[in-house]
Symmetry: C2
Subunit: 238 residues, 2 copies
């Protein structure tokens, strides 16, 4: 039989996992924000910092994975508690991936800076990043507070991100056609935009995992809509 | 105490998981091969089939996740068995993602076909896809056979994929600069190339997970090299 002490200690272990996820979340959020800042300010130093920072999330993901397996082995949790732990593994993997995407944006800063830097190119990207960061903050709140009634809102915002990404995709293609000297920078910016769109997807995954942790039920597989950028065809003016 | 029957039945459950992973692997492999074929042959029908097929992997991933949690809850496995089950969750998630990447390639078929289709554009992509598919087949074999001595080879091939992707990135940028009418098709092909490069990464993840299942140890975090496409800067001829 479990003693009161063991019970409290198991709760502590679950709390430890949740705290680590919260730490990863805050860290990933900062990395993404800094990668966008580095891009817009052409700040190669800040970009290098973001690239270096990424190892923290890689290590934390591993730590959470190993710790979770130890907890499962030692505590033999069932139902809610087990979902909580498996959910922590999943969420840490989404957050690690968000860090990778931020790192990938940061790595393109130098190539974008070497080409031309028409400031108008960055405007759409900045708006897209703002939306994705709001999304990420929101799902981290949902995880911390377990207020799953906000998940519908998260899915709606993901659609908004997808639509904005598709229009940015079209815009960047147009700039490339206007002037071949824009091609290098715009191509890297297209990949940055795609990375931001993916950050929105991972944030949405996190929301869905929280829903599963709390309710034990999966949300329907098909999300309402996806980005439509794969359909975009632009033709040169003449 | 566990009876002989229960023991055998637990083995059956583990075998069931491994069989599901093998089925997912074969399915993902076929999706990727067909997406490349659809792209090169401009086969919109085959592309639609690949897009529709993806739901199978989504459902299988969920099924493996749910089944794993039930097995853990009921069997309370430790050490090797627990690593095996948590490994199955991870691998199913990599395979589901590989299917997504194949689907994403297939979705671009129509946009690539509408623009110009210089066949030379596809050559590099085909070679890259061949390498990634060989990689995927290899890691599925490593999973089935647990022959982890082949993992070094898998990591080496991942470097080769990254190098080939970087050179393809540069080549596609050059085509865009040569003729703005290539821009739409080449942009979509750049994303296809990136998807293939990511398929190689996920295959490598799977190899690393198998290493962990078999040995209980993680491989060092830093992989030898990463793709260098983020550095590529191309300038128009005049």
């Amino acid at each position: 039989m479990q003693t009161q002490h063991t019970m409290r200690s198991f709760d502590d272990e679950l709390k430890y996992l949740a705290d680590q996820i919260a730490a990863m979340g805050g860290y990933a959020e900062r990395m993404v924000a800094e990668s966008i800042e580095a891009l817009i300010q052409s700040d190669a130093g800040l970009a290098r910092k973001v690239v270096a920072d990424d190892v923290f999330l890689d290590e934390k993901e591993r730590e959470i994975g190993e710790r979770s397996v130890i907890i499962i082995g030692r505590r033999q949790p069932v139902a809610d508690d087990l979902r909580e732990i498996v959910g922590a593994i999943r969420i840490s993997s989404d957050l690690e991936r968000i860090g990778d995407l931020g790192k990938n944006i940061a790595k393109r800063v130098v190539a974008v800076t070497e080409g031309r830097q028409p400031m108008r190119l960055f405007r759409g990207l900045e708006a897209l990043a703002d939306l994705a960061l709001t999304q990420l903050k929101e799902v981290l709140d949902v995880y911390a507070s377990r207020s799953i009634e906000r998940i519908g809102f998260v899915r709606d915002r993901d659609e908004e991100i997808d639509a904005m990404y598709t229009s940015l995709f079209r815009e960047l293609l147009t700039y490339m056609m206007e002037d071949p000297r824009n091609i290098t920078a715009c191509t890297h910016l297209l990949f940055c935009a795609k990375n931001i769109e993916r950050i929105g997807d991972h944030a949405t995954n996190i929301a869905e995992t929280v829903h599963h942790i709390v309710t034990g039920r999966q949300l329907p597989l098909e999300r309402p809509k996806e980005d439509e950028s794969h359909r975009v065809v632009a033709t040169p003016a003449k």
